[in-house]
């Protein structure tokens, strides 16, 4: 073998890759948003997070004051009573800052500082005379705008923690504004998050995540890099929420001597440590393990990425595990079990419509009827080839057939691809199309799940 052959082989294969990099922006943005949601990290009782900038604000005293004063959160904004509290994804939030525009303006821009804990914003217009359409756009993330067709404080938007301290630039606009119209934004801080479940002051395992209950949580001390416990199994149907923070090393989960997982420890903690428990497709326990058996569960920090028994030392590392019942109801869509209830973007959603293609069909089209409530669209593609198929989710908010590609995924190994979700805003009746390019096979199945907003 000559080095020239090696170079030409690499060049030849690299040259075969055709790419549309513009289409990569949207999925990367969604991954960032998902990561920020997962990084809902924080410390209870952290210092107040100031809202630091506002435009056309009639509450100048609300700016740059820390800690927050009661006067910063007036009980009415834009002539509307502001909800004092709100719940989102299992946590309580408290209204702390208010902004409103001057009379007669059709837009309001605010900067909301987000740090180690998530925040919520709600919005409203004083205009009740006509059917009001208010759009809230996060100009920092570039996400699609939130739209409300009700003029009061009827919806909240979730600003996930993580990524260091940042300022989200939010712009509220109204389609038409009369001479006296005011727009308002209310900002909420998380309130006593440890009340939501079992925690150590930094992370918490919620007592309930959707329909599942916390069975047991074990949180190690800082520097305890080998965490073991024994448990008697009352069920094999469990969801596992492992966590490691305070280190950039590797950690592993072993159950009854069987390696289950190895992944990176995160330097930053995630407040909501039980948000995404995994079932590992029921493959956690070794063959022969039965209900009633007692097994040893071990989490340990490793010096490298191999599955090794050797331990790494790190005085700041914290290992933790939460175990949840797993009774989630599912529907088979395209042959894949899709959970009915999900948490996404700080909201809870419940599936009400399931669509799937006939085997071998390369596209699936759905026309969604108008609704005053947001809806969540999830998708799945099964039986696709990982050597060239591309799955596209195309959404046309105005109902035409020429929609915008909002998701592009290469087909996954194993032939099953899942996409990140898409929120259909109130008042929209879009056409949603899921399609596979690159040629489908007789086993290709496509599925869409439409969910209603529960909270």
């Amino acid at each position: 073998m000559r080095l020239e052959d090696l170079r030409s082989t690499l060049d030849e294969h690299a040259g075969r890759i055709q790419d549309a990099p513009q289409a990569r922006i949207a999925p990367v943005r969604r991954r960032v948003a998902a990561a920020r949601r997962r990084r809902a990290a924080g410390v209870a009782g952290a210092a107040a997070l100031a809202v630091v900038a506002a435009a056309a604000v009639a509450l100048p005293h609300a700016l740059d004051r820390s800690p927050v004063q009661p006067a910063d959160a007036p009980s009415t904004l834009a002539g509307r009573e502001v909800p004092r509290t709100q719940t989102a994804a299992g946590f309580d939030y408290r209204y702390t800052r208010g902004f409103q525009s001057r009379a007669g303006t059709s837009s309001l821009e605010v900067g909301v500082r987000v740090g180690d804990t998530p925040r919520l914003v709600m919005w409203a217009s004083s205009d009740t005379s006509t059917r009001t359409v208010v759009r809230l756009r996060d100009r920092t993330s570039g996400d699609a705008p939130e739209i409300s067709t009700a003029s009061g404080f009827s919806r909240y938007a979730y600003l996930p923690a993580g990524g260091g301290s940042r300022t989200e630039r939010l712009r509220l606009t109204q389609s038409t504004a009369g001479a006296g119209t005011r727009l308002a934004v209310a900002v909420y801080d998380i309130d006593a998050p440890m009340r939501a479940g079992q925690g150590n002051g930094t992370i918490v395992y919620r007592d309930r995540v959707l329909g599942d209950s916390l069975v047991r949580s074990v949180i190690g001390d800082p520097g305890q890099t080998d965490l073991r416990f024994r448990m008697k199994l009352t069920s094999l149907d469990l969801a596992w929420a492992d966590t490691c923070y305070g280190s950039s090393r590797w950690y592993s989960l072993t159950v009854a001597g069987r390696p289950v997982l190895g992944t990176d420890c995160s330097p930053q903690p995630e407040l909501d440590a039980g948000a995404h428990p995994a079932t590992f497709d029921g493959s956690v326990f070794p063959a022969g393990v039965r209900v009633g058996d007692t097994v040893t569960v071990r989490l340990h920090l490793s010096p490298d990425s191999g599955h090794t028994r050797s331990l790494a030392q790190d005085p700041d590392a914290v290992l933790a595990l939460g175990l949840y019942t797993h009774r989630a109801a599912t529907h088979q869509v395209a042959g894949v079990p899709m959970p009915d209830a999900v948490e996404d973007s700080g909201h809870q959603w419940l599936a009400h419509e399931w669509l799937q293609s006939d085997p071998g069909r390369a596209s699936l089209r759905a026309e969604l009827s108008p609704s005053d409530r947001p809806r969540l669209v999830r998708w799945v593609a099964a039986g696709t080839s990982s050597s060239g198929d591309v799955v596209l989710l195309r959404v046309s908010p105005d109902g035409s057939d020429r929609g915008t590609i909002v998701e592009q995924n290469e087909s996954a190994v194993g032939g099953i691809s899942y996409g990140s979700s898409y929120v259909v805003q109130p008042g929209q009746s879009p056409v949603v199309t899921l399609e596979v390019t690159g040629g489908s096979t007789s086993g290709t199945r496509l599925g869409l799940v439409v969910s209603d907003l529960v909270h």
Binding site: M1, D5, L6, R7, S8, T9, L10, E12, A14, R16, I17, D19, P21, Q22, R24, I25, V28, R31, V32, A35, V52, A53, A55, A56, D64, S101, R102, T105, S107, L108, E109, G111, T140, G142, G162, G163, G164, S165, R166, T167, E168, R169, W250, L261, G262, T263, A278, S305, H307, M338, V380, S386, S387, G388, E410, A412, V413, G414, I416, Y418
Partner: protein, 192 residues
């Protein structure tokens, strides 16, 4: 609408990130494909690296490509078994990409197959040295290791390729892809 004076607080507005994705990520995709030998995994790897880089974008120097490439290569090297709701773990080796070979020689085809059997770190070194044309020092910086490690990994990788059964001397019958014994599952292949 009146604008309030700027507060002076830092904001996270970074239009250059999307420009970077549009302009430079195709090159990263090709590197990822050479590492993973799978188009789908390569896309996943690039998106993973880019989304990780997003969080540090404000701290990245003028040319972010080396930084993103470092994330990409190290993410690839440390992939073991991904966790994500709904993702199916697999015990099968990933597909080896398009089978649409045209005129390329059997030797190149076999060399590509042989590369798939290299351990991840060695494959990464080969791609960085012979596709990216990085020096040993530059490759060491990307991989976060010493120059000596790059040298030894390169040497081992080339030695493995030279003795790979797929690259036997041409005066002996060359086993075709279909009659060659199945490649043993590498640790990284079975545990991802």
């Amino acid at each position: 609408m009146e604008k309030a004076p700027a507060s002076g607080a830092p904001t996270w507005v970074r239009p250059d990130f999307e420009e970077f994705v549009a302009a430079r990520s195709s090159r990263l995709l090709r590197t990822a494909y050479l590492l993973t030998h799978d188009r789908g995994l390569a896309e996943d790897l690039v998106q993973t690296a880019l989304s990780k880089a997003w969080f540090a974008w404000g701290r990245v120097d003028n040319d972010p490509e080396p930084y993103v490439r470092r994330i990409l290569v190290n993410t690839y090297a440390s992939w073991w078994r991904r966790r994500w709701n709904g993702e199916e773990p697999t015990d099968a080796l990933p597909d080896t990409g398009s089978s649409g070979h045209d005129e390329s020689s059997a030797a190149r085809h076999d060399l590509w197959d042989a590369m798939a059997r290299l351990p991840k770190r060695q494959r990464a070194v080969v791609v960085l040295r012979y596709f990216e044309d990085l020096s040993e020092a530059q490759a060491a910086e990307v991989l976060g290791c010493s120059v000596g490690t790059v040298k030894s990994q390169t040497s081992r990788a080339l030695a493995k390729l030279r003795i790979d059964p797929a690259l036997e001397p041409t005066d002996r019958p060359t086993a075709g892809p279909t009659d060659r014994p199945a490649a043993p599952a590498t640790p990284e292949g079975t545990t991802r």
